[in-house]
């Protein structure tokens, strides 16, 4: 009896949790039109970065911490493991994110994609040995990632202000809220154990090392740029918008190649004689 009560209470609690998520989503969507209005005609090119001064400081700190903390770990990992092994680890990390992908494809009203992702998770977790091998991809079920940030974007939410969080990297308001929801509603965390458990800690550790190692070419590319802060901001914004277009199927809105953008900002007034 009391057991039944308990489970009913838990279900109610779960429902309240998801209601909170929906409320947050609705709140974000209410902001969407305003955010959209800030975008310019050329699409993803204009930066929305009201906190630039603060963000530049956070970026500097983040890159410094990366240099002494994450980069040595990632480079050590890359030195002792060959690429095929790292690919297996990436597959396993990706596989644990698959249930979250299913949730978001359902929220986006894409039942076929959700079924495919579910099948991928079942096949790869079993035949693929806990996700180490992407067997499903060979069965014509390729990866198709999704997250809450994409779902918000799918329903029209713009990115909002850019934020740089040291050790977490670039984010914006939409994808930051999305990231928090990804973590709060993650089915694997709920079933196998969250950050309080050994599994959760191990998973987080492996994920961080894997993500940092996979991002190494991007860090390498940053060395070529003359303003790494702006390059990171631009690349992240384009990457996320492309990810959302995978869900919406919209064509990309690119600037005309031969027409220089109009002088929107003041510095153009300082034209050289």
């Amino acid at each position: 009896m009391s057991d039944k009560d308990h489970s009913a209470r838990r279900r109610a609690l779960g429902r309240r949790f998801s209601a909170a998520g929906i409320a947050a989503a609705a709140g974000l969507l209410a902001l969407a039109p305003a955010v959209h209005a800030e975008e310019n005609a050329a699409g993803s090119v204009e930066a929305n970065d009201p906190l630039e001064g603060f963000n530049r400081g956070a970026f500097k700190l983040g890159m410094g911490l990366d240099k002494v903390l994450l980069a040595p770990i990632a480079h050590g990992y890359m030195a002792v493991t060959p690429k095929p092994v790292r690919n297996r680890v990436s597959s396993a990390v990706y596989n644990l994110g698959e249930p979250n992908t299913v949730i978001n494809q359902v929220l986006q009203g894409k039942p076929k994609r959700a079924m495919r992702a579910t099948t991928r998770f079942v096949v790869n977790s079993t035949v693929g040995v806990l996700g180490l091998f992407d067997v499903a991809a060979k069965m014509n079920l390729p990866r198709r990632d999704s997250d809450f940030g994409q779902t918000f974007g799918y329903y029209g939410a713009g990115p909002g202000a850019y934020i740089y969080v040291p050790l977490m990297g670039p984010l914006n308001v939409r994808d930051g809220i999305g990231r928090a929801l990804d973590m709060a509603t993650d089915p694997v965390g709920a079933v196998a154990g969250g950050i309080g458990t050994d599994f959760g800690k191990a998973r987080l550790g492996v994920t961080i090392v894997d993500v940092r190692a996979s991002a190494d070419p991007a860090f390498h590319a940053l060395k070529d740029s003359s303003d790494p802060y702006v390059t990171t901001r631009s690349a992240y914004g384009q990457y996320r918008e492309a990810f959302i277009r995978q869900a919406t199927g919209q064509a990309e809105d690119l600037p005309d190649f031969d027409a220089p953008p109009p002088d929107a900002s003041a510095p153009a007034a300082t034209s050289t004689p």
């Binding site: 029209g156 070419p217 003359s226 631009s234 990457y239 510095p267 153009a268 050289t272």
Partner: protein, 212 residues
């Protein structure tokens, strides 16, 4: 997940309806026209560049040399040079342009070679194209083989017509190289109070220091 209660289903339907209404505002646009000539151009020329970079029998110096020549067949360098300056393309002096163009060219060769080289792919396959407007086409490809575990999507923006095409931008993982460079460069000049020489010096210095 299968035993959804009716109230839950009702709530989900309401949520979807609400979200759906929000989505209607989004313009649906999908140009599906393809351009076989632009596709053939990318298939031939881009594959050639990738084959050179994947060639294990060639020294780094040889690769650089071949890449230096192949880039003119593949890319419209003067157009890209103008594009990456953004709004400063209108205010740059002829003298500055004469110094910027070669500095950017060396810089771009290094960057493009590094980016293509990062992935160590071997085989390029055209998967389709989208005509943005006549003469402005996005050619979609995947690069695979080598050390790539999942086929890597790479898009090429080509301008031209008939049999004559040139690449002006390349997109990896959703990120366009020339668009990103434009923001990088314009920001650098903005932060130098509009002084384009600061960027030119930086490009020239970077090349000296790098030496990879």
């Amino acid at each position: 997940m299968m035993n959804t209660s009716p109230t839950r289903r009702g709530a989900n339907a309401a949520l979807l309806a609400f979200l759906g209404a929000a989505a209607i505002g989004a313009p649906a646009m999908a140009q599906q026209a393809r351009d076989p000539n632009a596709e053939a151009f990318v298939q031939t020329k881009a594959q050639r560049v990738i084959s050179v970079l994947a060639n294990k029998g060639m020294s780094e110096a040889q690769k650089k040399q071949v890449f230096h020549q192949a880039i003119d067949e593949l890319a419209d360098v003067p157009r890209v040079t103008n594009f990456v300056l953004g709004k400063y393309a209108r205010t740059i002096t002829p003298d500055q342009r004469a110094r910027f163009a070669p500095a950017f060219r060396t810089y771009a060769e290094n960057v493009y070679q590094d980016r293509i080289d990062d992935y160590k792919g071997e085989v390029l396959k055209v998967t389709g194209s989208t005509v943005r407007k006549p003469g402005d086409v996005i050619v979609n490809t995947t690069i695979s083989g080598g050390q790539i575990s999942q086929p890597l999507p790479v898009s090429w923006r080509v301008l031209g017509g008939g049999q004559t095409w040139k690449v002006v931008d390349v997109q990896f993982k959703g990120v366009w190289l020339a668009i990103t460079q434009q923001q990088d460069f314009v920001s650098t000049i903005d932060n130098a109070g509009g002084n384009i020489d600061v960027l030119i010096n930086q490009l020239q210095k970077g090349q000296g220091a790098k030496g990879r």
